[in-house]
């Protein structure tokens, strides 16, 4: 009948298109770039990709269920603002307090040093996860469509972010910033491993961007196991045929909550990194909106159907890569910044159209509605 390989190729058409497209445009970019194929360019690109990649992965999970999460950008921004308080890393600790209705409430001291920073990261990720959990609870127990539920919770998250950071500010530990936003060699020398990064075996990896490694690690440690868990499969089943999933005795409600919670965690990862990268916190409302919309674009370019049921977060990473490489091109070719949205929009439209190309081959027009 059909060989396994041909079945797999056909089933991953969207994802494979994204991978090929990215490989081509990124190669062109490096050829065109005066400092192409250098570690410095790779590092810069990886840093610019990481946060959106996380937010896109976060968006992928509800999209697979056939929903949209409009709060991912806001949740990421909220975590970013929290991080600008919790990742200061000052020796002797950072005192934390809330000023509310004229009251000054002291919340104790955030410890400094590496262990304090680790604790801060854990708290930030927990906040993101909690935000996602709240989304899930509202959707499942409130019986509200994800798009509406997250429109509301997103406003709440932005509100909290604004409360935390009415103006951009805050501080991030400098070593943390240095270690995570450069190449692996810099990471090793900052945290004093592999002979401060001078170990001979380590040399080939020293130029690899840390953000890229983190991204791959999260994809591998979080997404891949999730994809192969019952909860993960249930999410695909919900997006594909929710009634059938329920009738098959799957834990539909639990899977939905897990999906949004996982999304919250991933958005939190993005928020922490953005804070580290910018060494500050910023409750930037337009930026939060842009992240949400770009995350949807990345998911679609990455081969995930907005109807749910097919695709995956790895595809969304490639979607993000494609989206970002497009804006990298503007710098190389020195296109006026005012024209960027126009070009971005056209290229986005073209990229998404590639996914629709196979519709031309559909000879039974009824299939185009499935």
């Amino acid at each position: 009948m059909h060989s396994d390989l041909s079945i797999r190729l056909r089933q991953n058409f969207g994802f494979l298109t994204a991978v090929v497209l990215f490989s081509v445009v990124y190669l062109l970019y490096h050829v065109a770039h005066p400092k192409g194929f250098s570690s410095a360019v790779l590092v810069q690109n990886a840093n610019e990709v990481f946060t959106l990649a996380m937010v896109s992965m976060a968006q992928t999970v509800p999209v697979l269920m056939g929903g949209l999460d409009l709060s991912v950008g806001a949740l990421m921004t909220m975590v970013d603002c929290f991080a600008s308080y919790l990742l200061v890393g000052a020796a002797g600790g950072t005192p934390l307090a809330i000023d509310l209705f004229g009251l000054h409430i002291a919340l104790g001291t955030m410890p400094g040093g590496p262990s304090g920073i680790m604790l801060g990261i854990v708290i930030c990720l927990a906040i993101g996860t909690l935000g996602g959990l709240l989304n899930g609870i509202v959707v499942v127990y409130g019986r509200i469509q994800p798009i509406i539920a997250t429109l509301a919770t997103g406003a709440i998250y932005i509100g909290i972010a604004l409360f935390l950071r009415p103006q951009p500010g805050g501080k991030i530990d400098e070593d943390l910033n240095w270690a995570l936003t450069n190449a692996l060699g810099d990471f090793a020398s900052t945290v004093h491993i592999f002979d401060d990064g001078a170990a001979p075996w380590f040399a080939p990896f020293a130029g690899v961007p840390t953000a890229f490694v983190l991204l791959a690690l999260i994809a591998l440690v979080v997404w891949v196991p999730f994809r192969r868990s019952v909860a993960g499969r249930t999410i695909y089943a919900i997006g594909s045929a929710e009634g059938a999933a329920f009738m098959s005795g799957l834990a539909v409600d639990r899977a939905k909550i897990i999906a949004f919670t996982l999304g919250g965690f991933l958005a939190g990862c993005g928020g922490v990194f953005l804070a580290i990268q910018t060494a500050s916190g910023n409750a930037d409302i337009p930026q939060a909106g842009a992240y949400t919309l770009n995350s949807i674009a990345s998911v679609v370019i990455g081969g995930t159907s907005l109807l749910g049921g097919t695709g995956g977060a790895i595809g969304s990473i490639f979607g993000t890569l494609i989206l970002r490489v497009i804006s990298f091109f503007f710098r190389v070719f020195d296109i006026a910044p005012l024209l960027q949205p126009l070009f971005e929009g056209m290229i986005l439209l073209a990229a998404v159209s590639i996914g629709a190309l196979r519709m031309l081959r559909v000879r039974n027009t009824l299939e185009s509605f499935r």
């Binding site: 009948m1 059909h2 396994d4 079945i7 797999r8 089933q11 196991p225 192969r228 868990s229 019952v230 499969r233 695909y236 089943a237 997006g239 594909s240 045929a241 009634g243 059938a244 999933a245 329920f246 009738m247 098959s248 005795g249 799957l250 834990a251 749910g308 049921g309 097919t310 559909v362 000879r363 039974n364 027009t365 009824l366 499935r370």
Partner: protein
């Protein structure tokens, strides 16, 4: 017989269930035991589906007790019922279209390794279970939506078997199957029976029930009418119990007249290697059947004639004029007037959340306008006429069409298309999963429409139906018409022989298989 329910594997007593004002089950006592195939019979809305849903934990009963092996149960979800060994193969398939066959078969309890789904073990399991149901030709990696309906139903059965049920419920589980698959399912059920599984079997195919069931229960209007052992009742008596009225002839008589002029003529129609050089005439006033094994191109031919397929070659002539059918909209336009009653009413026939009125009027809105707006009065009159013509049992016309029973939904689909006043009517297996009474109404309606001058092309997976209803039957095999049967040649032996593309010299084989089928 409440006393008899003691000691049975499954025992229901005093079960009632209402949906709004409709009583779906009324004080039902029912029991079934292990190692038996127990058929549940009844018309549309007799309460069979609700009975199954109650047993399978899909809906809770309003009152009454369900006992499993003597222990009272209250299933909160299908998962709870499955855990207790009650597994259901639903009429509306419970497969996830975007997941692979292997994923679907092990959907809720996949084999695991290190806490994660073990894809290899899952695939092996799928292969074993598919082999068990006799469906080895399906690659477990394929997504379910890439399979034809008949294969999906086999996968659904494999999935159910994989849960090692103590009570297996099959709800119209063979309605989309080919005869060969049906034989496999029979063999499988016999094995399960020998393994002491309790089997509840719901089917509208009387010969299936006769062949399989050790015991049968008849339901009518939400009540349990009678339970009897195999052979205790004749088919006529059973039908009588089910519908509560006498049915003298099952099929309306066919008029004796010369073959009319063709309203629809197809010549050398080809599409995508799946339809090969098809030539066929359908006359005004004629019912022409399409037969053969499932998936031999019959559905594709109907889709081609409704303008759904691209790249169709050959000539199609409607009322003497050559036409190139570009889309369903084009096909239903006034000068062509083709209607297609689609195969899957849930996705192609109805907009389930929309009202009964909206669904009925949707295809003929063009006839119901006053200026640019839909005329409420015209719409109401047209809808009422449609409801009356097919005697659709409707409570409130503004209710969502999804609230109707399967047979009534199918009537809505048919009424909707009759409201466009088609001259050529294509029917794609319209009696799948509907009850005997509605089927007979449908047969009468088809003959009536033909007598009024409509040309009808009727695809059915049921041989009896083709023989009983059609003036002629074209048998398809591998994308081509292999034989046209009419008059005395139109019998089960010939249909089966042609379906298997056995030439008539091999009559002996054919009649042997016909006997096996009956």
């Amino acid at each position: 017989m409440p006393g008899a329910t003691e000691g049975e594997f499954l025992a229901l007593s005093g079960i009632s269930k209402r949906y709004g004002g409709v009583r779906a089950l009324e004080n039902v006592d029912f029991a079934c035991g292990r190692g038996l195939i127990h058929a549940v019979l009844g018309e549309n809305g007799a309460g069979k589906s609700t009975l199954i849903k109650v047993v399978a934990g899909v809906v809770p009963p309003d009152s009454g007790v369900i006992k499993l092996e003597g222990v009272a149960q209250r299933f909160s979800s299908p998962a709870a019922a499955t855990a207790a060994g009650v597994v259901c193969v639903f009429q509306e398939l419970s497969l996830i279209p975007d997941l692979s066959v292997a994923d679907n078969i092990s959907l809720s309890a996949p084999p695991k390794r290190f806490g994660l789904i073990d894809a290899r073990a899952q695939r092996r399991r799928a292969e074993e279970l598919l082999a068990e149901v006799g469906c080895e030709d399906v690659n477990p990696l394929l997504r379910v939506h890439d399979l034809p309906l008949s294969r999906r139903q086999m996968v659904e059965i494999a999935k159910a078997i994989g849960r090692r049920p103590k009570l297996l419920i099959l709800d119209e589980a063979t309605s989309a199957l080919t005869s060969a698959d049906v034989e496999k399912v029979y063999a499988l059920l016999a094995r399960l029976k020998a393994a002491n599984v309790a089997i509840l079997y719901i089917s509208h195919r009387m010969h299936e029930v006769e062949a399989l069931a050790d015991r049968a229960s008849v339901f009518r209007n939400g009540r349990h009418i009678e339970t009897f052992d195999k052979g205790a009742r004749t088919t006529a008596e059973i039908v009588q119990l089910m519908i509560g009225r006498d049915i003298s002839t099952q099929y309306p008589s066919k008029p004796e007249r010369p073959r009319p002029a063709a309203a629809l003529r197809i010549e050398n129609l080809c599409w995508d290697n799946r339809l090969q050089s098809i030539s066929l005439d359908v006359g005004a006033g004629e019912i022409v059947g399409l037969g053969g094994l499932d998936g031999q191109g019959q559905k594709m031919l109907l889709l081609a004639l409704f303008g759904v397929l691209r790249g169709v070659t050959g000539t199609t002539t409607v009322n003497g004029r050559a036409v190139r059918l570009a889309s369903p909209r084009h096909s239903k336009s006034r000068d062509i007037s083709i209607a297609l009653i689609p195969e899957d009413r849930k996705t192609e026939g109805l907009m389930l959340p929309m009202s009964i009125t909206d669904n009925l009027a949707i295809a003929s809105l063009g006839n119901l306008l006053s200026g640019p707006f839909v005329d409420q009065g015209k719409e109401r009159r047209a809808v009422d006429a449609g409801i009356a013509r097919l005697s659709i049992r409707v409570g409130n016309k503004t209710d969502a069409v999804s609230t109707l029973s399967g047979g009534n939904q199918q009537k809505v689909v048919i009424a909707k298309w009759l409201m466009t006043q088609p001259r050529i009517i294509l029917l794609n297996d319209p009696t799948r999963g509907i009850d005997v009474g509605t089927k007979q109404e449908l047969y009468r309606l088809m003959r009536e429409l033909a007598d009024q001058g409509a040309a009808i092309l009727f695809y059915s997976t049921d041989y009896d139906e083709l023989i009983g209803c059609c003036d002629r039957v074209a048998i398809m095999y591998d994308g081509r018409i292999v034989r046209e049967l009419a008059g005395v040649d139109l019998n089960e032996t010939n249909i089966i022989a042609s379906s298997l593309n056995i030439d008539t010299a091999a009559q002996a084989v054919a009649s042997a298989s016909a006997t096996a089928h009956a």
